[in-house]
């Protein structure tokens, strides 16, 4: 419950402050969002599994975002462009999908 409120607070903060993203960081924003979504759904599933751990959540969020950004950067530098970030999206997408399926099983028992 507190987490949901915190999430809403963050959204309100983002809307209210309306920061401009530096142009250099713009390519990393979408991939960071996907990585963050992975951390969120992992956390929710862990909560439902009753094995949630704060430290694990924080570390997974930060490392996910950083690693995803790093891979996009690496792809840019290597000249493979979007392909490497496509790989990141696929892996994270599969994880998100699996975690959401587990959450669904928890909530609906189906």
């Amino acid at each position: 419950m507190i987490a949901v409120l915190a999430l809403l607070a963050g959204v309100v903060l983002g809307v209210y402050l309306d920061p401009t993203v530096p142009a250099a960081l713009q390519p990393y924003l979408p991939i960071a969002v996907v990585a963050a979504l992975d951390a969120v759904f992992g956390g929710v599933r862990a909560k439902l599994d009753r094995i949630f751990d704060d430290k694990q959540f924080v570390v997974s969020f930060i490392s996910n975002v950083l690693v995803a950004g790093l891979i996009v950067y690496l792809g840019d530098q290597l000249g493979v462009g979007g392909q490497l970030s496509t790989g990141v999206v696929v892996v994270l997408g599969v994880r998100i999908f699996g975690n959401v399926a587990a959450i669904r099983r928890h909530l609906f028992r189906a």
């Binding site: 915190a6 903060l13 969120v40 862990a46 094995i51 751990d53 704060d54 997974s60 587990a102």
Partner: protein
Amino acid sequence: MTVGPTRGGAEQRPDGEERGPAGRVYTADFLTELFGNPLDPGYADAAARRRSSPSPSGRPGWSSRTVSLVVVVALGFLFAVAYRQTVAEEPGRSQARAGLVAQIKEREAETDGLAARADRLREEVGRQRDAALSGSQASRLRRLEAGTGLGRVRGDGVVVRLADAPVADKDGLTGSGGGPPRVLYTDLQKVANDLWAAGAEAVAINGQRLTATSTIRSAGEAILVDFRPVTGPYEVSAIGPGALRDRFEDSRAAYLMRDLVESVGLSFQVREVEDVTLPAAPEPRLRYAEPSVSPSPSVSGSGVEGSSRPEPSGSGSSPSPSRGGR
């Protein structure tokens, strides 16, 4: 995020793990692991750790709880920023495009308006000039204008119609390349040249009259006639003698085009038309060439006409179909 041998929470995972003889844990390969167990193994590890050595209060410490909340706030912040960024970018792109399209349309309309105004003014000038000049001089001037393309002309002639091949079904990867075969600017050039050669006295492409300084060029995929874009189907109208059609049908350009019709599917038709009117071309701005006629127009008359009309039928005084302009 750990892949490979793990310890600790391994017992909780139901999927394909085997304990080797030496007690090492072998996890399934990465993709199986990914699809079978999407949850970060760290959670299970942490839970196992907690179970084996429970903290005194049984609750996580306040500090880690706070950090977790801060991260959640940061998450919401990230989502909001990313959403706003995406929303802000999208209209920017389409707006820029729409703005450019609108600008092009506006400029085109402006050009059309100015061209119409120029036509009106030119007619006005012609009228004034006719009033000022004597009858014979005025008619001579009108004939000159008609011959050089600066005056509207009417008469019988032919219309050559060229069109791109119809859009065929694209077949997979290969069809995405060039699209259907298109009429090239060289086709228009050849047709126009052979119309002149066949005796045409006035030629216009899609209503753009060709003059001695006219250009037919390509710019990207567009064809420009006198720097104005023309789009297919292209109609090349020409006014000329009665045999114009037969002569043109025998020309190289006609042969080439008929060949293209058979090989790549362009469409090409020649038909005779009666009493067609070709518009006047805009006055060419000569920046480097200066007229060097002698002051008395009667002496240089035929010379000027001959030099400005490269095509063979230069007999401007004969009762040709291209009667006086306007």
